[in-house]
Symmetry: C2
Subunit: 391 residues, 2 copies
């Protein structure tokens, strides 16, 4: 006999979804209204303005795709690319590989620039590739690699791409709201993100933004976009000004209430303050992790505050640790992805999950579980090390 599903109250410190702010959950449960209701249309306009703030952009075409981040990624590629186009994809983790998949499914050519997993993308390697491939029209890379916790210098990459007349497509799924991102100032032409990382919102939508140069490419396409659902020529009609709004698909109304509330929370806190908060709690977590004697995958200078890839000590059963954390502490941390499976844990400090009490909870839980499994770590010192950062 099936019954209503009552999930437990977890603490989500994995790679996302992150803990959702109670105000956002409350917003989700408000009465559904029509997706063409004048009041809903007004709220969508506010979502656009709030997204412009979060992205630090004045791009008119700044909207939320009605599906998760992967669909946001696909929206960018299918709208910009045509068969035969060349795209340079700088890969330093799982999500660069997904970009390649997207490029190739558009019938375009992906020139892969491989960087070490756990390191930033190398702007010099990008320049070499641009020199070798003058036919390239686009450069794509990930700002904050969720699979490894490495941050790439967006401005440096965009500067080089533009020098070679390429437009840039940037994955900001894990960076938006967690670390500095200046879409306009840094010359990002196209960007996509997700709601379930540093925005602390429920998963299911993908904020995207396109500048005028990108819009020109879309408008001068010779071929139809291969996806009807993601075709921005149609989607724009729905997100357009109220007087010209046209039906495309039924918007996920309640999910947009949630996004609206999450962006409002970000605005209320202030972007800079949110970035500083992620940095501060990361420093505390880092102190605790190092006190335990564990290593980070990513060198300090290229390390994200909101996604901490920590090496699993030799002989420790990855799955057993995560199982015990979940069972005894209701605490979720992430497993490694791809080549890092079984070798690292990914501890997320994203959005609402990025709070002092969670740092202490995570460190004490990890300490306890590792002690029970007789892991070779320094017990009983992590909390004090973290506390010292807040002092």
């Amino acid at each position: 006999m099936m019954t209503s599903f009552y999930p437990p109250q977890r603490t989500l410190m994995g790679p996302g979804p992150s803990d959702v702010h109670p105000r956002i959950l409350a917003a989700m449960a408000r009465p559904t209204i029509g997706h063409l209701d004048p009041l809903f249309v007004t709220m969508m306009d506010e979502v656009k303005a709030l997204l412009q703030y979060a992205f630090q952009t004045e791009n008119e075409l700044t909207i939320a795709v009605s599906a998760p981040g992967s669909a946001g990624m696909e929206t960018c590629f299918v709208n910009l690319l045509e068969a035969g186009d060349t795209v340079i994809v700088c890969q330093n983790g799982v999500f660069g590989g997904r970009m390649k998949e997207n490029v190739e499914r558009c019938g375009a050519i992906a020139i892969m620039v491989q960087d070490e997993w756990g390191r930033a993308c190398d702007a010099n390697k990008l320049e070499d590739a641009l020199k070798a491939h003058p036919e390239a029209r686009f450069v794509a890379f990930v700002h904050a690699e969720t699979s490894t916790g490495a941050v790439t210098d967006v401005k440096a990459m965009c500067d080089i791409a533009h020098r070679y007349d390429c437009l840039t497509i940037v994955d900001a799924v894990t960076s938006l709201g967690g670390i500095p991102l200046y879409v306009d100032d840094w010359g990002v032409d196209v960007v996509y993100s997700g709601t379930q990382k540093c925005l602390s919102c429920t998963p299911g939508l993908s904020p995207v933004s396109f500048n005028a140069a990108a819009l020109d490419v879309i408008k001068s396409r010779k071929t139809t976009v291969q996806s009807w659902f993601l075709d921005l020529n149609l989607v724009m009609g729905y997100w357009g000004t109220a007087s010209k709004r046209s039906y495309h698909h039924t918007a996920p109304v309640n999910a947009l209430y949630a996004l609206h509330e999450s962006l409002l929370l970000l605005k209320e806190e202030g972007l800079e303050q949110a970035w500083a908060r992620h940095q501060q709690h990361h420093q505390a977590l880092k102190a605790g992790i190092e006190a335990l004697g564990l290593d980070f995958v990513v060198p300090v200078a290229e390390r994200l505050p909101q996604l901490n890839a920590v090496c699993i000590p030799e002989g420790v059963d990855d799955g057993e640790v995560r199982r015990l954390l979940l069972e005894d502490y209701q605490l979720e941390i992430g497993a490694g992805l791809g080549v890092m499976a079984g070798k690292v844990w990914r501890i997320g400090l994203m959005g609402y999950a990025c709070r002092k009490e969670n740092i202490f909870k995570c460190l004490s839980a990890l300490d306890d579980v590792l002690a029970r499994l007789h892991a070779p770590v320094n017990h009983g010192v992590a909390i004090a090390a973290a506390r010292a950062i807040y002092a």
Copy 2:
């Protein structure tokens, strides 16, 4: 200064979204857990089982696509079709046209069989097309046309399609949960639906189901599916058995809580009982509408109970009527789509919105507003006519 968005409590009697059951809104607001959490995986298995019940199918591949109905439609087409395939699309409204768009964006050929808007698809016309196009591999049509309110005989269409060795792709967005639909017994090979119609759930997900023959087509494709996000070879890994579950994209966790609850409500009521309820309240609405002196677009035998397309009396300002209903009664009814814009209203009786008090509310509100606008209708008799049906 932007503030939290508090939507009004509307009564949604348009073409969808329909009124969402309070239990579903409550489910949406429960704490988010990880999309790979063992408890979430168990809930997804229940969603699959409940969808099999709703669709009346034993198809193993019965899941919810993480995006609205339009993406469910696209999932069906991009996974089954390859460039050069021929598809016969029977069109009797807006959504058959969207099917054509989808077919063509796959590089396939759409043979259009046009039926009158407001009528069912004609199985004889389909057979003529199949005779003329022996190269056709698929037949696609809409079960319940949301733009007109006409129902098509799914079994008759599938029988003919199969006689000519075609697989059937059926749009059940507005039919699921509202009128009889037997996916297995009627020989539907592929079906997609939406959550925001007769399931009374929030918009944003698309239930789909594929039988073994369809799965064979997918598995024997020569080319890669053009969409990464919608590629069932990848999506199946995520919806697969718990032991083999692999990460694809971050599922819209809270939206799936809502779908789970809505399907549970349907199971508790019973499919046949839900169908009977839609029929009963439709009869009452019909009596009231006819008492007002208004006409239906669709002939009785081909008319959906859950989507009532009513002709707007001459000289009456469509937009003004809908504006007054919304303003004074918090009541949303739908405008006409496509060629029917300005000529019809679409009154939805879907899922939780399909209740006796809504029939009376809608009829009295319409009567009042039409009186104020001096429309040539019979005032003061609609409610009594409706009440007589319930007697």
